[in-house]
Symmetry: C2
Subunit: 500 residues, 2 copies
């Protein structure tokens, strides 16, 4: 056994503990009876501790040093990439003292429960001291992680999107915001689609067989995954086994379909990684932004396109029956693309979603870097919603208490949603060029060609390239908001029947 083999085996077992914890969390959201929560929390905390022990084991540093000194590492691109990423992970893990890791874990649990109560009672003051403490702990975490000259917020954001900085995001977000606001205003002159289709009551079993048929058509492999329901849609990989969860209401089949296609996009990324690299960085998704690009590409560029609806309509008629009477593919395509500025991020349409993200980006950066105190958060939140989205926030429940993220210690995370939208558009445009027109494939129900292209271009690389390198390799250009804006202008111009 070489140091590389030892290290790989050791970190594979850490990965097995991580996927075991993922299964426990999946079960908690889908299957677990109410009374089992306390023991489940103990099980998860123990697994996290064991995983942290493995990743910070002193032998890891020795093995890493031996790998880096071994000429065989640089001679083999796979080894070199794995060692580079293991070093990155190890550096970050060992910079955090165990006491801080434990305190963060405990406070995340407390703050999340406190947030849930505060939100249900619309009582921000109840949450504020917990958020205060969370900000302090995140600042301490950032101070452990950050390099000389790096800002605290950048150090946190780099955990989710390697290489991303607030400065780069500002360059992207500034012009994007102006153009999104301008687009939204132009749409008010257009012809608004009706929402009659999605207001119909449809039995859940019918909705479910319909959305399952779509994931099958997209190529989600049931031999290595499954689809269930949960309160909040999500996707998790429990070890070569990808669990999608979606949600169903009594009405709004388009919401169920959109959630399912979104999670299916995440799932296809996970299923597209190389089995031979399981348990190493080359078998892992590269970043949250790239992950989100895959979900948004399947949800929006595929699933909200006119071509998709031409293919999907007979399927909808077969599964949804009478709910389709009096409608047609063109009308439902327009309904699926209605734009309506709203208060709630997770309900937002494609033209306003990123404005919600930008509000959070501004505020969390100011919180972490110390320009904003938590006492002023609701006021600033409401001011930015007026400015960016033109809506009046009536209460904190629909305002700054709506998202779970900050209570879970996720600072630097929100912008990955918008990066996902931008990457998705740039990847979709590249696929359209490379494959000689996506629409022709989609309207024939050929999803295989696109899926295999994404697998070759993105999924199978794992963490071999940085997100920025990957974008350049796949699209021939650095990340830009231009493809996203061009896509929205083109699609929404058609949906709203704007003059060209």
């Amino acid at each position: 056994m070489t140091a590389y083999d030892d290290l790989r085996a050791h970190l594979r077992s850490a990965h097995l503990l991580g996927t075991t914890a993922a299964l426990l969390s999946w079960d908690q959201e889908t299957m677990m009876p109410k009374g089992a929560g306390a023991v489940r929390a103990e099980q998860l905390s123990l697994l996290a501790e064991l995983q942290h022990q493995r990743t910070t084991d002193p032998r890891v540093a020795d093995w890493l040093a031996a790998c880096e000194a071994d000429p065989r590492t640089q001679a083999d691109p796979d080894r070199a990439a794995n060692v580079r990423q293991w070093r990155r992970d190890h550096t970050r893990a060992t910079r955090l003292p165990s006491a801080l890791v434990a305190e963060l874990a405990a406070h995340e649990s407390t703050a999340q429960q406190g947030w849930a109560t505060a939100r249900s009672k619309d009582d921000y003051r109840r949450f504020q001291p917990l958020l205060d403490r969370m900000v302090v702990l995140q600042q301490q975490k950032a101070d452990c992680l950050r390099l000389p000259g790096q800002s605290r917020w950048d150090a946190l954001a780099d955990l989710y999107e390697p290489g991303m900085t607030a400065a780069l995001l500002r360059e992207l977000f500034g012009p994007l915001r102006q153009q999104l606001v301008a687009l939204r205003q132009r749409l008010t002159d257009g012809s608004e689609p009706d929402d009659a289709f999605q207001r119909q009551r449809i039995e859940r079993p019918a909705q479910e067989t319909f959305v399952r048929a779509v994931t099958t058509a997209f190529g989600f492999d049931p031999k290595f995954g499954r689809l269930d329901t949960s309160v909040h849609p999500f996707c998790t990989n429990v070890g070569n086994d990808v669990r999608l969860c979606t949600r169903f209401g009594d009405d709004d089949v388009l919401d169920a379909l959109g959630s399912t296609m979104h999670e299916c996009g995440h799932g296809l990324y996970e299923q597209g990684t190389e089995p031979e690299h399981f348990g190493t960085p080359l078998g892992e998704p590269v970043s949250l932004g790239i992950h989100e690009s895959q979900s948004r590409l399947w949800e929006n560029h595929v699933g909200r396109s006119a071509a998709f609806w031409r293919w999907c309509w007979p399927l909808a008629q077969r599964h949804l029956g009478a709910a389709c009477d009096g409608f047609d593919a063109a009308r439902v395509f327009r309904t699926a693309n209605r734009v309506q500025p709203s208060l709630i991020r997770v309900e937002a349409d494609e033209a306003t979603y990123d404005l919600h993200v930008m509000v959070r980006f501004e505020l969390e950066q100011a919180l972490i870097d110390g320009q904003l105190g938590t006492a002023n958060l609701p006021g600033e939140w409401n001011r930015l919603y007026r400015e960016y989205l033109g809506v009046q926030v009536p209460n904190d429940r629909q305002g700054c208490l709506q998202d779970v993220h900050w209570s879970c210690g996720l600072f630097g995370y929100f912008p990955t949603y918008t990066l996902g939208n931008l990457y998705a558009a740039q990847f979709a445009a590249a696929a359209d060029r490379a494959l000689g027109g996506l629409d022709q494939l989609l309207e024939r129900g050929n999803f295989t060609t696109l899926r295999e292209w994404l697998r070759r271009q993105i999924h199978r690389h794992g963490r071999r390239h940085s997100p920025a390198e990957l974008c350049q390799l796949v699209t021939g250009a650095p990340l830009s908001s231009a493809p996203f804006l061009a896509y929205l202008e083109q699609k929404l111009g058609s949906v709203y029947r704007l003059p060209a």
Copy 2:
């Protein structure tokens, strides 16, 4: 922190790893997609290794010695009982060398897969070398575990039923076998019940709501558990969270009901342990025989009684609809108690089930203690089936290849099924006396009184008493086959309308 507190916290975490593994196994049988088996096996093997490390940690020996020397231990009956059982577990765990534990785990996996193939192809010769090796490994395991003068088989059986020996079993089984054979012969002169009710095709959703209603009536608490379906029925506790699995066919609702009541009985035992003792021996079931007594008590003494069927009949009519037309409670009670010697243990009725167990007891003892070679197993199996059950075994698939146990390394385990039947009858008779007649309670649908009695008498004690002590405490007598035989004679005499 005292040594007792340290030890308790340390072994609680070992228990959390065990319950985590239980969840992974549950998921494997109920939810896991086919392709995920290899990674799941790795996850389970890692958890087993981590759990073994914890239980054999050298600090455990130090803590145990400190507890045993501490006068506070003997002064507190709870502490004393936990320390006594921890010592027992630790002694057994440390007597097995890690290399043997690993070799056993690996061979169990190989042998189980080999068994499945051999069974499906009805090819005992294919399985024989794997069984040979398993017998050798089990002999090595027994040699590590056994005390001076103790036989190998007794050392293995003690793992599942503390204090049980082959000599004690022979005393119980000898007369029992003769009387069961005699009873079976007497029944041939009786009036055989018809099986028309169970041959009807009934939709699975109807069967499922029916059996769920029965578990609800029995008092299975859905806040701390759930009921699902699997190929083989089972019950597992994943941490204050009891998962029952049952099975449904297109016909034979009585099989689905029997399986469900059986697993529910196991589940009520698990749910009846004291939450304050979670993660210590006082919160654990005492033995497999006592566990099986709870499942058989609810399955047979409750669920196959005439009183139960008088209560259950309107429920069956409500959920099973037309399938009940032309039948009544008395007729279905008789159908549920048909006796028919068969080849397959898991399909056996109450009057012949234990004869299947006795065949296995004879053979596995001879294998482990060296009087029987694996080459002669099929012949001996078939000979004993002729002698005990009066049936001709047509092939090994329906003969010595039918059970998974030996391929999993479970030697000394089979007799706990019969012990469960004997304990169940003795407990049921004691409950009948203590509660002033079980039938009056059951026919009114009052299952609470019996369940709470079992909880007080058995469940809440955990491993405080040995199975033999518990039997004496609960019933005022040592274990005997008399209550079981009296129960069978009385019930089957009525079912088969034998002269009194």
